[in-house]
Symmetry: C2
Subunit: 217 residues, 2 copies
């Protein structure tokens, strides 16, 4: 078997590699332009291939390429939240925010187009992908806080803060990436502890967490 | 001239009244169902007219009716923010939030469908209407705070809080309108002062505001 294997194995790899190459070309275009300004011709040109070849890999055309690129970007973004469960909790949050803000920086126009809504390529599928990222972010935060059964008030607080971070990212891009990355990161961490403290006044579960965070710092 | 005026004047009113009647029927349907579940037949039935009559007034069909209903709802929502410039500032904010939460309560399914994104009727026009409401909310807050030239950090704080309020409203609807209206209102006001206080540590303009709010309470 061994001597005959290389050719099909090479071919399979070729298909996957080609697919990945087209996806990367699409990602870099969709990251820095609004979807309206990206055509399959641009993708073909960026990848150095013909337009029919792009269609062979993505018969659904631009919408399919966009969704595949978005799925790939969402995976990359979810990796930003991977943070070892060691060291002070707020420092872990700052590290994750560092990676998140670097991602926003690198995907500026695409990030804005996607989250500002009303995009031509927005569908219930793209919304589900974005919601999946938000859900993962909330799960990561709660798991670092070692909460397995978060009550309503704690869940709301975490989700409101995640939404506020998204809003901050969009304004940050609008404002020419001001305030600077490090200031924005620290400010967002401070807001996290502030809103948790407010909720602590209404919710014993969150109050216990706030005490743990204070001891941990 | 006077004796001949009534007839055309009556006709013009009739057209406007009919239009308003159709719009109100559409609004009450779009408020409590996702747009996918509202048809022109439903609107015609709710208004007690024929489907062709609905088309005569809204030749763009469901999308046009949806956008007109949304524009009308947005106007109503913007009226929620009208609050006289008297009395303690945080009490004014609580009053506006009371009206806002009542609006969310009355337009539950439509509010969710609109803001959760990926809706079949979402376009750049519907997004612009929603963004207009957010902008008006921010302007109202800054005008009550008597800030005419808000700096970046203060603007970001206000817009982040507005986004967090939206997120809270959606979770509130998801969770069967829990926590209760009054608790949610007070909690959101507390979050507003908490995030302003955090920003005050980084921004002299916001620090002055926080001092004024403390004196005002």
């Amino acid at each position: 078997m061994a001597p005959s294997a290389p050719t099909p194995a090479y071919r399979r790899l070729g298909v996957e590699e080609r697919r990945r190459q087209l996806l990367e070309a699409a990602l870099s275009l969709f990251a820095h332009r609004v979807p309206e300004d990206v055509s399959l011709d641009h993708v073909a040109e960026a990848a150095g291939v013909s337009r029919p070849l792009v269609y062979r890999y993505f018969p659904g055309g631009k919408q399919q390429l966009y969704e595949a690129a978005l799925r790939s970007a969402a995976e990359e973004l979810q990796h930003c939240f991977d943070e070892p469960c060691e060291g002070p909790l707020l420092r872990r949050l700052a590290h994750a925010l560092d990676r998140y803000l670097a991602f926003v920086d690198q995907h500026d126009a695409g990030f804005q187009a996607l989250l500002q809504g009303g995009s031509v390529v927005e569908t219930s599928r793209t919304t589900a992908i974005v919601d999946g990222v938000r859900r993962t972010a909330a799960e990561h935060i709660l798991s670092h806080l070692e909460v397995t059964e978060p009550g309503l008030r704690l869940r709301m607080t975490v989700r409101m803060w995640i939404t506020a971070v998204e809003a901050a990212s969009l304004i940050w891009l609008d404002e020419g990436k001001q305030p600077p990355h490090d200031e924005l990161r620290d400010w967002l961490v401070e807001q996290f502890t502030a809103v948790l403290s407010v909720t602590a006044g209404r919710d014993p579960q969150t109050a216990a967490l706030v005490r743990a965070l204070a001891d941990d710092a």
